[in-house]
Structure formats: structure tokens, C-alpha cells
Symmetry: C2
Subunit: 442 residues, 2 copies
């Protein structure tokens, strides 16, 4: 008896190293794992639950490699402002309003949005992460969580983060993994970064950090101390751990050489945020040429406004063609490789995530690509990249368990979550510039 059978769908699989659509298949799932993907048979094996999916496209669950998910609480409050004002006048004062309960409900709201958009896994970097972990546990999704710490927090902050990292590694039936998450080289001094790296080594975990977010930070680092933010990561031992770097729009060629020699590095790419904040773009092509994995991300909704990886995927394709002034770059095959394989590799999970294949974790999204905006269906791959919308997501399975089916949530109480978030809107929107969690001065 199977635990779950997805019946008669099309499936985005990899054949000869490239994504293609295999039509009319059954996906057999036992416990948390894909057991088989085989041509549809009317007399399928018995299953505890069967999802009929004729005409729908199964894709691997989308992975968000860098977010501050509970920042949905501040969505729309910092528009059309410089990066300096974004941090100092808006977001960091706003974040001083946060308490544990806010993070719990903010994370739930973010998970509602992400599940509805087919995002099954998020690498999240925020505060009060025990509450975020609780929300993940209840929602049923997958997450790589890091408790964000600033150098100003000193040893106490490191202790809190270390305790969380140790306690929650493998939590929620293995759906939660943890990282150390020092905020950035411009908010953590070298000793603090070294201490974070030592803790990560002791716990055998990776490090999730912002670095070289935009070229101004790189220039400031060079002016102040003669080395780039990436060189700071190397000198402080961060790069000896598996490292997830957001966002790298300020990477120089020598940084890419350095990253290529590092232990295990991945870059989270959140193009909507970069466009909106005028940050430039991650040098995607040189990073790929150097063999460094790139994954898709949304950053927080304070800058990105949405948590929609289908939108990030489309913007990856469009912006790379634009920057190169060449429509032949970033073809569909590369876009899909980054979206699925790249994102899984950035999380260090390329072996069992990001692919529909027997033995991989059963994180599966069913899309209905039959709407007017997909017709006629000459190319499902083009439709997936350029036409698909969060609203096309019908069913979301994580670890073998359907969390949303036919757009009905099974784990989260949408009405209650929105009610809880709305009742605190006024308090959360207050800003006292002197009351902020940090000062941005890279």
C-alpha cells in the first residue's frame, strides 16, 4: 500500500541532463520519498490517498534560498526610498517592534503565501526563530533556519543562535535544518564572524550570511580596510564552512575566483529585490562558469513585496537576457537548472531535493497550465517559465504529505492567521527612528 499516489499527471523530469516533460505518469510515494515515476496505469497500486491530476504538471517543490519570511508583516511600508533610508528610517526601526508572537504569526502568513505559490522550502534568516520553527512544524513545509545575529549582540546573541542551531537541527521529522546566521560583514566585526564560524564548525552546520549585497558595500569595504566583503569571509573562517551567501550583486572577479576555491558555497539570487532597490544584479554567468551554485530567492517582503519563486524565476530569465542584450543567453534549460538543481545545491541538498526522481524527497507541486494564458500549449517549458502564476498552483506536497489540495489548505488556518496579523498592523507600522535594531553604515 502506497502512502500517496499522484495519478496521471505530466511531470517535469531530467533526461540526459536536461529538463523535459514526461506525459501521463503516476508518481508513487512512500513515507517522505518518491518511490517510482512510471507510465500511468488505470490499475494503479492501492494508496492511502490518491490525487487525480490529469492534465496537471508536477514539478519539484520550489525552493526559496534566502528570505526573511516574517517580514511580510512590514509589506508595503518602505516604498521608493534609498537603501540607506530603507534600513535606517524604515526597516530597522520597524523591526524593533517585533516580539515572539509577531514572528510566529508573520511566519504563518508567509507560509500561507509560499504554499499557495508552490514554495515548499525556505532558507530563512530572521529573529525569534523558535517561533518560526514552530510555524514550519505546523505548516508542514521544509526549512533551513538561521537565527540572525549582529555583532552588537555580542556573546549572548551567539549563544542564543548556537542553542537554536543545535536544538532544531533535524526538527519536525527532519524537515528543519539549521545554520548559523551572522547578519553581514558590515554588521559583524571580524572577531564575531570568527566566533560564529567556530560555533558552526563545532555544530557541523553551515553559515547563511549577507555579503557584497551591492557594489557600494564592496567599495566601502575596500576603502575602509583594503579587502572585499568576500575576503572578509575568507579571513574570518566563514568560507571554511558550507556558506550560503545573499546576494552578491557587489562581487568582483577576484571574489568569484576565491569563492570557486572555497569548501562549499552557494549564492541566493533575488532579482525582484535587486531591481526594486537599484542594487544591480548578481553576476550570474561568471558564477555559473566558475561552478558556483546559484539558487532563486525572494529576500523579505519588505523589499521584494512577494514571496513568489515563479516570479523570481521569470525575472532571472528576463534580467539576464537584458543585461547581456542577448536573447540567446539564459535559455529555458538554464533557467530550470538554476530554479531546481541550483536552489537545491545552494542548500546543500542536491542529492535528494529539487528533482522528481525515485529516491528523492517527495516535495511536489501540481500546476494547472491549462488556463487561457497558457494556450495553446506549444511549449510547456516556456509556459512554466514565462506564463505561470502562483494562481496556477493547485496542490502542494511536502515530505509526502499534501499541505494544500485544489487550493484548499490542510495545515494552516488562513482566516485566523490573517485576523491575527491584521489586529497588530497599527503597532507594527510605528516608527521611531532612534529606536532601531541597527544602523546601516557599511
Amino acid at each position: 500500500m502506497l502512502d500517496l499516489l499522484i495519478q496521471n499527471c505530466d511531470a517535469l523530469v531530467i533526461a540526459n541532463g536536461r529538463h523535459e516533460v514526461q506525459t501521463a505518469v503516476d508518481i508513487h510515494i512512500n513515507q517522505d520519498t518518491i518511490q517510482a515515476i512510471e507510465p500511468h496505469k488505470p490499475d494503479a497500486p492501492a494508496a492511502k490517498e490518491t490525487i487525480k491530476a490529469a492534465g496537471q504538471l508536477a514539478i519539484p517543490g520550489l525552493i526559496n534560498t534566502h528570505a526573511h519570511a516574517p517580514m511580510v508583516l512590514f509589506r508595503g511600508l518602505a516604498e521608493d526610498v534609498s537603501i540607506l533610508d530603507w534600513f535606517n528610517t524604515y526597516i530597522w526601526p520597524l523591526e524593533s517592534n517585533l516580539n515572539e508572537e509577531d514572528v510566529y504569526w508573520g511566519m504563518q502568513l508567509a507560509l500561507l503565501e509560499m504554499i499557495e505559490a508552490g514554495v515548499t522550502c525556505v532558507a530563512d534568516h530572521y529573529f525569534f526563530m523558535e517561533q518560526a520553527a514552530q510555524a514550519i512544524t505546523e505548516a508542514g513545509t521544509r526549512a533551513a533556519l538561521g537565527w540572525a545575529v549582529f555583532g552588537s549582540g555580542g556573546q549572548a546573541a551567539l549563544d542564543t543562535a548556537a542553542a537554536f542551531t543545535a536544538d532544531y537541527q533535524g526538527a519536525a521529522d527532519g524537515r528543519i535544518t539549521t545554520w548559523m546566521a551572522p547578519h553581514a560583514p558590515y554588521t559583524c566585526d571580524d572577531d564575531f564572524l570568527r566566533a560564529a564560524a567556530r560555533i558552526a564548525a563545532g555544530l557541523n552546520v553551515g553559515i547563511h550570511i549577507h555579503a557584497a549585497e551591492e557594489m557600494g558595500q564592496t567599495e566601502a569595504s575596500l576603502a575602509k580596510r583594503g579587502i572585499t566583503p568576500i575576503q572578509v569571509l575568507e579571513e574570518t573562517g566563514i568560507l571554511e564552512r558550507p556558506t550560503l551567501i545573499a546576494h552578491g550583486c557587489g562581487l568582483l572577479p577576484q571574489d568569484i575566483e576565491l569563492l570557486a576555491r572555497a569548501n562549499q558555497v552557494g549564492i541566493a539570487h533575488a532579482p525582484k529585490t535587486y531591481l526594486k532597490l537599484g542594487m544591480g544584479l548578481t553576476p550570474v554567468a561568471p558564477l555559473r562558469e566558475a561552478g558556483i551554485p546559484i539558487g532563486l530567492a525572494t529576500d523579505g517582503a519588505g523589499s521584494n513585496n512577494t514571496l513568489d519563486i515563479l516570479e523570481s524565476m521569470r525575472l532571472l530569465a528576463l534580467t539576464q537576457k537584458h543585461e547581456a542584450r542577448n536573447p540567446e543567453v539564459m535559455p529555458l534549460s538554464t533557467v530550470l537548472d538554476i530554479t531546481f538543481n541550483g536552489s537545491a545545491a545552494v542548500l546543500g541538498m542536491a542529492d535528494n531535493l529539487g528533482r522528481l526522481q525515485p529516491g528523492c524527497l517527495a516535495d511536489i507541486v501540481l500546476l494547472d497550465l491549462n488556463g487561457s494564458h497558457h494556450q495553446p500549449r506549444h511549449s510547456l517549458l516556456a509556459s512554466l517559465v514565462y506564463n505561470s502564476r502562483a494562481g496556477d498552483v493547485q496542490t502542494v506536497v511536502v515530505n509526502g504529505r499534501p499541505l494544500m489540495h485544489n487550493r484548499q489548505h490542510r495545515t494552516l488556518d488562513k482566516t485566523e492567521i490573517i485576523r491575527q496579523v491584521q489586529k497588530n498592523m497599527g503597532r507594527l507600522a510605528q516608527r521611531i527612528p532612534s529606536k532601531r535594531i541597527q544602523v546601516y553604515n557599511p
Copy 2:
């Protein structure tokens, strides 16, 4: 007795020259016109139809200022190829397959997609336009139609286009207006452009034309004849007529000066196509400074893949901030001004379209901005620009008539349209490079 009452919605209105949301209003509609927008009263006047819209946001119907709508038939068939190949190897061979019936069903499919995305008016530039007009008539939307002609078609093509332009001006109860639509300076010689301008003058209509689509075309024109494509439009008398120019990514500063002095010019801006084909971007800021209206567009689905003006709006904001590397440019107020007022002005309809205001045409879209991806609703304007999706569109009213209500079409038969389009997919996808409607060689 009102013809239509939209009850207790919020409404995007203009106050002191800027868009703002007026909450809890009733919109009174008689025949094709907005009669009043006033604070909601439970004892509203009687109406033939009442739409209850509590919590929904009414916006002016979205306007697509440049499309080749029936090109949805070729969606996804020309991916990741150079502009030269896009024209010569893909689109122009594909378009040689078209017959009248294809355009009829292709236009219907495009109208399905546009209605579902809140697009109520399209300036369309294509072939067999009597069939396109028939589809518009049945769908109930608004359109400014031009029969595209190439210089190679000679006088016969001009005669066909002129007859259509004369016959369909004001058709479908005034919902259809017409333009002359010579294809572009690079496909029409000067005598042909002069003849088109004379016909337009005789019929008292405007001209809808491609020009300076990307900088390569401008450079080619300068190399071949010493003047820019815009100067060609001036020399041939095109600019003496109201002129709608797509796409202008190859405009030089002197072109903008020239356009600012012209009679009535508007620019259609289709950012998704420009990114995807690596064309650069229309110089939006200098055009706005010169007082030249800019409207939003999708171009055809052969390049843009979708016909979604909400997506064009979001990309306008994101790309302009990116190009300027400045998040303060293209603030929400300017994005909304271009989306609504700019697009109406580009069609020469700024007096009665693009605004929710008594006396204006009743083209109204109701959006549900209550989904998870909009919560909490700190800023409805930011949510409209950065978070809204076609799936948020609930109800679409054109000329006072609801065409879609609660996402149910009232005028178009979705199942039949998709069936008709699908049955011809194989024939439409055939390509014989020698059999093409034109050769691209600007």
C-alpha cells in the same frame, strides 16, 4: 433606475493630481458612463444589476497600448533566439500560416486572457482585422484596431487597410476605433508611408506604427540613409497625424525633441518583450520630461508570452529603478499615472478613459486584494503595483456592461475557444523558412 451599481467597493481615484484609494463607495453607472462615485449608502438607488463588491478595489480598466493579440496562437514557439531569427526563422514563417478564421479564434483566446487579467482595451496591430473586430464585438471589450500593412503589399494592401479603417471606425457601439497601421519604416518605403499618412488624413484617423524598436534599427537607418527612423516618420508626414509609436527603445535625444514638437504622439512601452529580446528599454524618463505620453503594452505573445498589463506595470517600475540604479525613481504615483492616464493619452482618449470619475466611460475592474500575498494591507497602492496578479481580478465591466463577474465569463465561450485553437496547433506551428510574410533586414 441605474443600469449598473457597483456597491461598497474601494476605488482608485485621482485627488489633487495623484491616485489614492477612496474607501467604501458606490459607483453609479448609466449606459456606458460613470454617473457618480459617492460614499456607500445602504439604501442605494435601484439598478438593473447590482454588484456587491465589499472589500474589493475598483480600478480603471487596464489599457494595452500595443499588441498583436492573435499572436497568442504562436505562444512559446520562438524562445531564446536572436531578433533576426525571431523574425526570419520563426514568426514571419509562422504568420504565413494564418487565415481569417485563425485570427478570429486567436483574437478570442487573447480576449479571454486579457479580460481575465483586467485588460479592457487593446490597441491591436495585425492582419485580417475584420475578424479581430468581430471577436471584439462579441467579447464586449474596447479596441483601437489597425490593419498591419507592409510596403511589399503595395496599393492593394493600403486599399484593404483604408477600407477597414473607414468601415470600422466607431463600430460595436463606439467601442472600436481604427488607425492606419503601416508596419515600420524598415518594412515600408517612404512613398508607402506618405500614402498611408495621406489616407489617414483623409479618414481623419491616427497612425499606429513600429519605429526605433531597438538601437540597432536606429543605427542601421543612420548608416543607410543618414536619418533616424523617427526622422523618417517626420519626413513622410506620419507625424502630422496622431501617432502611436511602438516601442522606441532606439530613440536618440534628437528624436525625443522632434517628437515633442509633433502633433500628437504617444509611445507604447512593453518592458517584458524588451527584456526577453534584449532590446534595451524605452527612455521613459526623458520622454516624460519632454511631455510625451507613455502607455503600457504587452506586444504580441510571440515575444511577451502573456498579455498581462499588471505584469507590464510591475516591470515598468522595476526596470526603471534598475536602469537608474535608484530606488527613488518611478515612485508608485508615476507608475499609476503611466498605467492609467498615460495609456489613455497614448490612445488619444485621456478625456474619457483611464479614470474613475463621473462622465468617464464605465470601464472598471474589480480586484480582490485580500489574498495572502497582499496581507497585511499597509499600502493598497504598493500592493496593486508590486503584488497584484491577474488571478486577483474578479469582475470586469466595459462600457457599463459586466463581461466577467466573479471570474465567470459572460460573453466568451472559454471551452469552445480553447478547443478551436488547439485543433489547429499542428498546422499553425509549421515553419518553412522560404515561406514567410517578410524578411527582417532593417
